[in-house]
Symmetry: C2
Subunit: 227 residues, 2 copies
């Protein structure tokens, strides 16, 4: 069912999920591609194309059933079951991730944080134990997790990735400012490169009049419109 | 020069910049599209296409001059001059942004943080003053800034955006988990939706065999390869 969903569509799925949850919370049962597009700053045709690409639940003239579409997207995003995480690095980024409340609501549970600093290890942060990085492999044997958050210096990220793969971790959420080298069949990686994001903002600020709205979406739309 | 750079290319520019800086630090003068592609997990043809799209500095058979290309991309990203920022919200996300060292190296300077909590206001965090949100407009009159970081609850983000636009802020780096409504001519916005990023990781973990490498890039490449 979910084969051949493009990266660009995958990146938009959480936005769909968020807006559909808000609509559901407001008691709204049906939504048109036009309304979803307005909420998401996208064209109705892109919305229809995205939703068609993973199955197509719309009925011409009636729009989409909010709950049905939300359940479908939640299932594609693998949100129907809880995920267990650990955080490598109890510095400011690791602590911010540990405290981020909306993850918890969505079923992402942090079991432990790991650090090298003996002043931090052995303590609790927001009820989450901070353990020594030396105990990582033993902990993962006893408490397998899906996801490891890398919130440590870039110079240590690659070596840590290899330890985590060897311990059976399935996915890495990488905040270290490096591009990791890995086999995409062995592990899934999503980067949050904060500096990159801030530089994109710097670009947009300087070239506000040049930015083409939705140019990425054009690339997924009609090729004849390009160039 | 920089007209019509697509969103997908803009998102890759900071990665080019980071790799070119590393090459420059290693004393490397020339780099081929093949070598850059290997470092960035992209095809050489995409690399050439990206770089062509903002001017084209390659010489067939010789590759790119590392310093020249880095300077060019730095200039497109508007990094040649320092940027002044404020952070709205001195909670865990705001504090993590304030402490993030690599921003400072790249010329992004945090002048102040703002909060509503009287136990925080009037103190220093890592030498950055935490001021009352009531003093925001006065502060911005005396110390104009380019960028405001929104690290506050989603329910307060839209109202704060409007206060910041009225005070002449040019760009918003939004960590609040909401989609802001704004006029793209009036202000530039880049979102860091952490929950969305984590959900994309959840998707990739569940569908590892389905993920098409570089599918976004195909969308920017040859339209005849699609569908």
């Amino acid at each position: 069912m979910t084969e051949h969903i493009s990266e660009a569509v995958i990146r938009r799925l959480p936005g769909y999920y968020r807006h559909l949850r808000e609509l559901e919370d407001q008691g709204i049962k049906q939504v048109s591609s036009h309304e979803l597009g307005e909420r998401m700053h996208q064209t109705p045709s892109l919305i229809r194309q995205d939703i068609n690409s993973f199955g197509g639940f719309g009925r011409q003239g009636y729009g989409y059933d909010v709950s049905e579409l939300k359940t479908c997207i939640g299932s594609i995003l693998n949100l129907q079951q809880p995920h267990r995480m650990i955080i490598i690095g109890a510095g400011s980024i690791g602590s911010a991730v540990a405290k981020y409340q909306s993850f918890i609501r969505e079923g992402f549970q942090t079991l432990a944080m790991f650090d090298i600093n003996p002043e931090k290890t052995g303590t609790l942060f927001d009820e989450i134990p901070i353990l020594s990085i030396d105990d990582l492999e033993l902990f993962l044997q006893l408490h397998p997790v899906d996801i490891a958050v890398l919130a440590l210096p870039g110079s240590e990220a690659q070596m840590m990735l290899e330890r985590l793969i060897a311990s059976g971790v399935q996915a890495i959420w990488n905040f270290a400012p490096v591009d990791l080298v890995y086999d995409e069949q062995a592990i899934s990686v999503v980067n949050v490169h904060l500096s990159d994001s801030l530089q994109v903002l710097s670009y947009k600020m300087a070239h506000r009049e040049d930015v083409i709205p939705s140019s990425e979406d054009q690339a997924n739309g009609k090729p004849e419109n390009r160039g």
